[in-house]
């Protein structure tokens, strides 16, 4: 395949940045999207132009390191991560626009790389169950109904990639936040801190500059792990209950 790539280049956080256009040829259908960018980078290196910086690590859809807005869609046209997107989703002659996540709370570091440390700080504010090492009771002493365990697992599969934020016109991280609230809130072990957790994490979310949720639903449509929208209802419900309890 021959392709035209329009790629956002920005030298550092303060640079204004702009789109550069590159032509690339000899791309096979079996390559992953990131392997296609590897080929571009080899070519740039050869020509004496600095390679394009982009994030990836596991390249199997689980670490959440890869990102990229591809033709305006987070992780591109399929329901998967960028690293699992393959070139057979594109056609010979296509023009592909590649940009970093766009959100005030995820400042650009360089080219296609952004700073997502706000997610870590949201977790720090309460996204855990306090259980010091060695203090745990025997694992089977507290049974967990299977339905709760399954729901907890399903939402715990969030990979913290930030696509939900990039997709949201308000730049809200409600899907990410709701997934964590729901994961821990479904489990008996998560109950003691349930109400303080939702209040503290929501406050941190707002403090980081993520926007509010107005129920547009773009986040769930973009999420590579198909985290369902109902975690946001759960988030709101828990928040209301917490407020009533005076947290």
């Amino acid at each position: 395949m021959n392709l035209t790539l329009k790629i956002w280049r920005q030298t550092d956080a303060v640079d204004k940045g702009k789109i550069h256009t590159y032509a690339i040829s000899g791309i096979s259908q079996d390559m992953s999207f990131l392997e296609m960018l590897d080929v571009l980078n080899e070519q740039l290196n050869e020509q004496g132009e600095e390679p394009v910086a982009f994030d990836s690590d596991c390249r199997e859809g689980i670490c959440g390191m890869c990102s990229l807005m591809i033709n305006g869609e987070p992780h591109g046209p399929e329901v998967t991560t960028t690293c699992q997107l393959h070139m057979r989703s594109f056609n010979d002659g296509d023009t592909i626009t590649i940009e970093p996540w766009r959100s005030g709370a995820f400042p650009v570091v360089k080219d296609l790389v952004v700073d997502r440390s706000a997610f870590d700080r949201i977790i720090q504010s309460g996204g855990y169950i306090s259980a010091n090492t060695g203090s745990a009771p025997e694992a089977n002493s507290v049974p967990v109904p299977r339905d709760n365990a399954v729901r907890a697992f399903n939402v715990a599969t969030c990979i913290g990639c930030g696509a939900c934020v990039a997709a949201c016109p308000n730049g809200s991280a409600s899907l990410f936040l709701g997934a964590k609230i729901t994961h821990l809130g479904e489990l008996p072990q998560g109950q003691p801190e349930r109400w303080s957790r939702v209040v503290d994490m929501t406050a941190q979310h707002d403090h980081e500059g993520f926007g509010g949720c107005t129920n547009i639903g773009e986040c769930a449509a973009a999420c590579p792990k198909e985290i369902p929208l109902d975690v946001i209802s759960q988030l709101n419900k828990d928040l209301r209950t917490a407020m009533r309890h005076g947290h």
Partner: protein, 676 residues
């Protein structure tokens, strides 16, 4: 499937096998040093050793802990769990990782599960049985006291993870579910669908983030450790590069822990993450930490084959697929390019079922991998031509679908089969899957004693980065167990004995050891950017990978290894004279990061070949062509090689120095395995 029960135990040697002691294959490539021994494990009954050590390890008064600082490199299961636990204890912890968040460490990618001797199924499991299976699975090349301790603390891990909210699979009654894994006869594997590593890591990450909020742990993300500081005989800090600003930073502490993961990427293509590296361990090695059994590599039989030269990494398909899929290649080489559905039953060679009638498709990982390679070497591989060969074998679900129905297969393996289709574009319900072995895990790593301390005082090593528990082969679901055992339950006890002598005299940035380490790092970076040659870092990495895979992969021979060593030495010369790295040192520069990693992989690759050359026996994942039975099975030489090979850095132009740690088994008897 790794640890299949032995049907016949035999220690027969075939007759024309040269008598041991006759060879010193690596003569000229190394120097023999003094033997080495673990001096920390208490003597006595194996079941009492850990309790004794915990009791004897000195305590640190809670009021003093805040004054003691610990650097932990790595936030995977081993590093994340340790940071959380030591933070909770009140020490002053600094945690480092190269990703943008601690949650992305490569532990996240583990699929299958984690072992623990809970015996919830009442099927006869026990600490002793898990210990036994692990030593045997490791082909009697691990240290028994360490393995016993691992089995002993395994049950605490599950308790801890459940308390943190790890959503393990459960039965309808709400209790934890188990599955069997790795072909052992008991069900002791805990799992969270196909994402066990992810869930365990998020548990450790959240516990660590809680400590960040409480101020006991400071996290440094997008930081790469490039040197260890050894001052007055003790590890006292690291030099790290802020990967965003390029700033070279000095971090000092009372003790340093490396939990930096495995080095499988020395093969370029592996199931490891793109950034997985040996730099942290290798820099420590060059400063005096011995590297143990570096050649012990685990090659996993069920991965998606390479599709072309552009390939950047390989993807594992859980080996549970071998429970229902049948593995075959065409009988005739001329059929290899055909649509497999057009090849009639009588022209298919179900080679594992043919060669190993009692274990069939369920033979251990190393055997399944080697036979797949043999079939492809014979010219009977399938899939696209890569170079001169087709590198793939079929894993066929046709019979299983006919027997159990498509729905049942879908329910069992849906995620995996979807992932396969996404990567290959082929529908495995209709066309047989293609699989091929890939590098997956390294048993080798930095040498540590029972306390997990390396040969550098004050440098502790945990998780995949150390060599300690898996001998020559690791059982499925045991790496996660080891990472968390080290991080939550072992290191926090052993490190306190060391810290009881602290805080150590303060050293400043002007200490000669600090100045030297910084200068080394800065010099290297400057060198990478100034060579101005013609070849990209990736091209060197790829070439190194080819050499390693060809000569230090599934089957190794003296001749091939010697050739590889020459090739690697030549590659090293070329690297340092023809490398091309663009960009600057003071910004995010991914080529520069890779250059440092590849430089270290090249040196490691040479040592791996020397280690493999020296070990003229076949054991676990290490198969020497010269050491096999008449039927082509692995042949160990306990009389000559029942030792850990701990290598000391011999200097830039010197040869490595071999220190042997003799392996003594008091609680288990050494046997040869057989799967026929």
């Amino acid at each position: 499937m790794t640890d299949m029960p032995d049907t016949t135990l035999t220690s027969d040697r075939s007759h024309d096998e040269p008598s041991p002691g006759q060879y010193d294959d690596a003569a000229g490539y190394y120097t023999l040093g003094e033997p080495i021994a673990d001096t920390k494990a208490p003597a006595g009954d194996i079941a009492d050793r850990w309790q004794t050590r915990k009791f004897e390890a000195r305590l640190v008064n809670p009021a003093n802990r805040r004054k003691l600082s610990i650097i932990i490199v790595g936030t995977g299961l081993a590093g994340g769990a340790a940071a959380a636990t030591l933070g909770e204890a009140g020490y002053n912890v600094k945690s480092f990782c190269y990703q943008d968040s601690p949650r992305r460490a490569h532990s996240i990618a583990a699929q299958g599960g984690i072992n623990a001797a809970k015996n919830y199924k009442e099927d006869g499991d026990s600490t002793h049985r898990l210990f036994y299976d692990t030593v045997k699975g490791g082909d009697y090349r691990s240290r028994e006291s360490n393995v016993y301790r691992l089995a002993e603390v395994s049950t605490n891990i599950i308790d801890q993870c459940v308390a943190q909210g790890v959503p393990f699979a459960r039965e309808y009654g709400g209790l934890l579910d188990n599955r069997s894994f790795g072909g052992v006869q008991v069900s002791r594997t805990f799992y969270a669908r196909g994402q066990t590593g992810q869930q365990l890591l998020i548990g450790a990450y959240q516990a660590m983030e809680r400590q960040v909020k409480l101020g006991t742990v400071t996290e440094y993300t997008r930081h790469e450790m490039l040197e260890v500081i050894v001052a007055d005989g003790q590890a006292r800090g690291i030099i790290a590069r802020d990967m965003v600003t390029g700033e070279i930073e000095t971090h000092l502490a009372d003790v340093v822990v490396l939990a930096s993961g495995g080095y499988g990427n020395v093969f370029y293509l592996s199931t490891n993450a793109m950034g997985s590296n040996v730099t942290a361990a290798w820099r420590a090695h060059r400063k005096g930490a011995y590297m143990a059994n570096p050649c012990y590599t685990q090659i996993h039989p069920t991965c998606i084959p390479v599709s072309g030269d552009h390939q950047s990494k390989l993807t594992l398909m859980s080996e549970s697929l071998r429970n229902d899929g049948r593995i075959w290649v065409p009988k005739k080489a001329e059929d290899c390019g055909k649509d497999p559905r057009d090849i009639p039953e009588e022209d298919r060679d179900y080679y594992l079922e043919r060669i190993y009638p009692s274990f069939g498709n369920l033979v251990p990982r190393d055997i399944a991998s080697r036979q797949a390679k043999n079939m492809c070497d014979e010219g009977r591989g399938v899939g696209p031509m890569v170079g001169d060969f087709r590198r793939g074998v079929y894993l066929d679900f046709k019979d299983a679908i006919a027997r159990l129905g498509k729905d049942a297969i879908e329910e069992k393996y849906d995620n995996l089969l979807d992932m396969y289709e996404r990567i290959t574009g082929e529908n495995p319900y209709e066309v047989p899957m293609r699989i091929y072995p890939a590098v997956h895990y390294v048993m080798g790593g930095l040498w540590v004693d029972y306390d997990l301390q390396s040969t550098i005082k004050g440098l502790f090593v945990t998780g995949e980065a150390n060599f300690s528990d898996h001998g020559a082969n690791r059982l499925g679901a045991s790496a996660l167990m080891q990472g968390l055992a080290d991080g939550y339950f072992v290191l926090p006890h052993t490190i306190r004995d060391y810290l009881a002598d602290g805080p150590f005299p303060e050293i400043g940035e002007d200490h000669p050891a600090v100045v030297e380490a910084r200068a080394d790092v800065e010099g290297r970076i400057e060198k990478f950017l100034s060579i101005n040659g013609n070849r990209s870092v990736d091209s060197f990495h790829r070439e190194l990978g080819h050499i390693m895979w060809e000569y230090c992969g599934m089957e190794r021979t003296a001749e091939g290894l010697r050739k590889a060593i020459d090739m690697i030495r030549e590659l090293k010369r070329e690297f340092w004279s023809d490398l091309k790295v663009l960009g600057t040192a003071d910004s995010l520069n991914q080529s520069l990061e890779k250059a440092g990693r590849v430089a270290d992989f090249i040196e490691l690759g040479e040592l791996m070949c020397i280690d493999a050359l020296n070990r003229r026996e076949s054991c676990g994942g290490h198969f020497r062509g010269e050491s096999q039975t008449e039927d082509g099975e692995a042949l160990r030489h306990d009389d000559e090689f029942a030792y850990v090979a701990a290598w000391e850095w011999g200097g830039q132009d010197g040869t490595p120095i071999l220190h042997k740690e003799e392996l003594v088994y008091t609680a288990i008897e050494m046997k040869q395995r057989s799967y026929k």
